[in-house]
């Protein structure tokens, strides 16, 4: 269905509205012609590598491809730069700095130098903290990173066709397709 009400239902059902790229994320952030940032916020190549590794920790390669395979870091660069408001971009970019600072504080190493189990523990903690922050109405940068990881991965060709299922031209409708656990979900809900 592309009828608008159903999009609203999704937003209502999933709790946190998608940040950026949607009019649902609060009119305050979107009102009028937002002033442009004083200096353009740009991602360095290192930022993209870092985002790729953080995303890979959220959605790792298993027997199926992971976030890095789907170039989620590069997707985040495009999406944050083009779709986030200046204010949202600031939160995101500051977040990357804070992620590294936290990592240094806890492990005396950069995130890139952490072992897989350390990365999982660190990002796992960050995830719990961000969820707690979101429930108090604050936008935490990691909520943005996680949303964009999921969105970027499952809407990528690799995510949609190798982790989920997608048929370009279904040709017919079957409203009671048999399903057993382990069968993959469709890439789009309807």
């Amino acid at each position: 269905m592309n009828r608008r009400e159903l999009l609203k239902m999704i937003a209502a059902a999933t709790g946190t509205a998608m940040i950026g790229g949607t009019a649902l994320s609060g009119t305050a952030l979107l009102s009028g012609c937002a002033s442009r940032p004083q200096t353009a916020l740009v991602f360095s190549d290192q930022d993209i590598l870092l985002l790729d590794e953080v995303a890979e920790t959220i959605l790792p390669r298993t027997e199926t491809p992971g976030a890095k395979d789907a170039k989620v870091g590069e997707f985040m660069r495009v999406f944050v730069t083009d779709c986030y408001t200046p204010e949202e971009q600031v939160i995101f970019h500051k977040g990357l700095v804070s992620l590294e600072e936290n990592c240094q504080k806890n492990y005396n190493r950069s995130f890139m130098a952490l072992q897989p189990n350390e990365r999982e523990a660190f990002i796992g903690q960050l995830d719990k903290y961000a969820i707690a922050q979101s429930s108090t109405g604050n936008t935490h940068y990691f909520t943005m990173v996680k949303q964009l990881t999921l969105f970027g991965f499952f809407t990528s060709e690799i995510g949609a066709t190798q982790v989920l299922r997608h048929v370009s031209i279904p040709g017919y409708f079957d409203g009671e397709l048999p399903y057993k656990p382990g069968d993959r979900a469709w890439a789009t809900r309807w």
Partner: protein
Amino acid sequence: MSSTQHFDAIVVGSGISGGWAAKELTEKGLKVLLLERGRNIEHIKDYVNAHKEPWNYPHRGRPTDEMKRNHPVLQRDFVLNEETNGMWANEQESPYVEKKRFDWYRGYHVGGRSLLWGRQSYRLSQRDFEANLREGVAVDWPIRYEDIAPWYDYVETYAGIAGTVEGLDHLPDGKFLPPVELNIVEKDVAARIKKAYGGKRLMIHSRTANITQPKPEQGRTNCQYRNKCWLGCPFGAYFSTQSSTLPAAMKTGNLTLRPFSIVSQVLYDKDKKRARGVEVIDAETNQTYEFTANVIFLNASSFNSTWILMNSATDIWPGGLGSSSGELGHNVMDHHFRVGASGMVEGFEDKYYYGRRPAGFYVPRFRNLGDEKRNYVRGFGYQGAASRDDWNRDVAEMGIGANLKNALAEPGAWSIGMTAFGEMLPHHDNRIYLDRSVKDKWGLPVLAMDVEIRENEKAMRKDMMQDAIDMFEAAGVKNVKGADWGYSPGMGIHDMGTARMGRDPKNSVPNGFNQVLDAPNVFVTDGACMTSASCVNPSLTYMALTARAVDHAVKELKKGNLS
């Protein structure tokens, strides 16, 4: 500099009703000029995104910050997205004034919003046509169901409407193709609702202008269940000007299509009391042209048809052609919506679905039928669907890592949701008017919108939410949550009224055959002519009214009554 050219008929606007006017007029042998203010979009060839998948869009379909700044109105709702970017009117070139917030979503191109419509297609009932008279609201419709019924048959058969025969007086059956099927959960909930309410409330198949059987005579293939209708269908599976009426009109050899043609006024002959043609500004060159014709159909979309009237014959009537009624620009209507409920359905974990449907279920109006008298008049219907959650679900408890990925790779629970579409009463003070202090790119005055929902709609919205909650709970749906997501006039994209049909020139703009009473060779057959709104989606009614009006116009022409 100007040049003049004569046609038998001119049709202004190429959307749903304009396409029908062009088809019917040309098929009856008239030489027709079809004017469209925007660019051409050729069927299939110009559907540039029709075969794209989410990953083919840099932002995966979401609007960019720049798009939002360029579209301050569109960005208020889902209609601004990467897939249909460029398919909506340019807000900088064509501004309007919001005395009160009004979300106006316009399709300025060949095909108009017929390319972008929701395709839900229902008939008005006898109850709808009698409601104003019975309740003393506004004025009486000049027609009754039996006047339009054969024309509903006619347009449904040609356009192709999928649906089911239900035998309901207040939602008349039509000529249907096999329905777009409900899924197993929708069928189960429908059966439970029927039982719980003894058949007084029903969840039925939606009636949608997507063909479920091919129409080879129109070169159209049946729906392929891609759910990409708004990108233009390369299979021609949904009704649009491009897929259906325009090819028919072209085939006659009688049609001249002129894009980039902004009609600035109807040219009025005050001696004959007839329109003699239209003035056109070429949107690309700014050059002005005159085209003359024996009959003119205004199908520019509700408010733009009225805008043309307001800007016409102002030397005789300062308020424009049709303003002698005192009602031109008044009685704006839309469908108020964005209120309903959703919940989870247990069981059916061993069921899923295949294919992406262009439509879901429909709940016909059940309020204020028979003897029931709520604290408001009229009623509402619901539209919705059931589906299994996808990766975009709340999975906070799963945290991160392989478990999260594996969980999201499988479908989640079944959920079901529906939103009501409520009837909005015609109210004289809900109006649009010309604001001559603001000009568009071509120096033309723009419309100002002064519209709000009133007590009747507000009272109805309470039922619109609570009844949805009650029905889902009665059907065993779990964790039911009602919601009112808020509504501003225009959001329904069902703009209606401002040149209503009626029986008396003193209070109506066109008569029962859509003829403007001060210029009977001018016909208004788009949403502008609606005398009341019903609660059902209106486009099918514009199609039927247009075909009926053309039939009348050609008969009158032959009798010499229009010259």
